[in-house]
Symmetry: C2
Subunit: 217 residues, 2 copies
Amino acid sequence: MGGGNRFQEPVRISRRRQVRKDEEENEVNESFKSPNLEAERRRREKLHGRLMALRSHVPIVTNMTKASIVEDSITYIRELQEEVVNLTEKLHEMEEAPLELDEQQQTDQIIKPEHETIDLKEEMKKLGIEENIQLCKIGERKLWLKITTEKKPGIFTKFMEVMRFMGLEIIDITLTTSCGATLICSSVQILQGLCDGDSVDLEQTKEFLLEVMRSNP
Amino acid sequence: MGGGNRFQEPVRISRRRQVRKDEEENEVNESFKSPNLEAERRRREKLHGRLMALRSHVPIVTNMTKASIVEDSITYIRELQEEVVNLTEKLHEMEEAPLELDEQQQTDQIIKPEHETIDLKEEMKKLGIEENIQLCKIGERKLWLKITTEKKPGIFTKFMEVMRFMGLEIIDITLTTSCGATLICSSVQILQGLCDGDSVDLEQTKEFLLEVMRSNP
DNA sequence: GCGGACACGTGAAAC
DNA sequence: TGTTTCACGTGTCCG
């Protein structure tokens, strides 16, 4: 890009307009026409100020030119929008746990990576409690599990005992209690047993966890 | 704001310039001067296009005018920036767990809401292990605690047993294991005991947790 | 001197 | 009515 890089300084110096070259030659000459002259001046000034303000809000400016300012601001807006999308995505990823009970149906569809998902909701309903267990195989020797149950003291301890007994090592786990309900999400590493050839005996794991749920410590 | 709301349509119709009113009167008249006429035209066109593009990237536009477009885009950029800040803040809040061990010093300063923070790092160091316990009172009957320790099987179970024994109800808890280390963050509700008048016996809680750390199940 | 970028003053249109 | 915004053509600067 060639030409004048910097903004051209206004012809007038102060607030009031200064005589231009034309008017210098023949001072008042015809003077006349300028119904909206100053108004137009103010308008230009305003737009100029806005553009400078816009420029000050954009971190990276390739060029001082007006078009470049607007262009850069567009790309910046795009970057910001994408960043917001990514962040909310990440946030929702981590917020998977504190879902409302009603929203679980959605989760059932979203999280179904490799293997089948065992949904015991109906079976739990027969027992009169709103319990729900989901198991997913998310890797060669990794499981993802989610448990919703009533808040019962000691159930978490028993859960941990079962996990340890089954040779499942907790990689990470979150527990949240709200309104008398408990939600547990966890990824576990399979240390021993449970492996039947290439796959994991999800049924056995389910049974053990069910036992924990049913027990009243 | 009075005047022309919509952008004025260009005088010329097609690509090539169209005669303006001045030139209509006396066709070729003097024709002459326009060394950069078309260049200027292209420049205006470009800026106009950029502004329209900018407008298309801003969801809320109060007015079609140029200055308004720029102004709205500024406010939009501000909103986006603030949103990004808030989201990253939230994200870091939730990511408190998988902090590097070296970064704990920062956390010690950041999270110090109401009561004193008990840092046992030196004491742990004497024992030759990189263990760290922090307790904070975050409410009338609420504690926030953070434990970093070696990854030892069964330590989590024992931790849960201690919590239950002390009458501390887990509100929420996260456990993360990485590189042989375990990080536990949890908020707990104080159900019974532990209360000494208005404050909580953090020392006693600390001792119990310390016992869990030292035990080798 | 050519091309790009700017401020300027103006007529017209929209409200 | 007047005010506001626009596109236009021009002079001018700079690399």
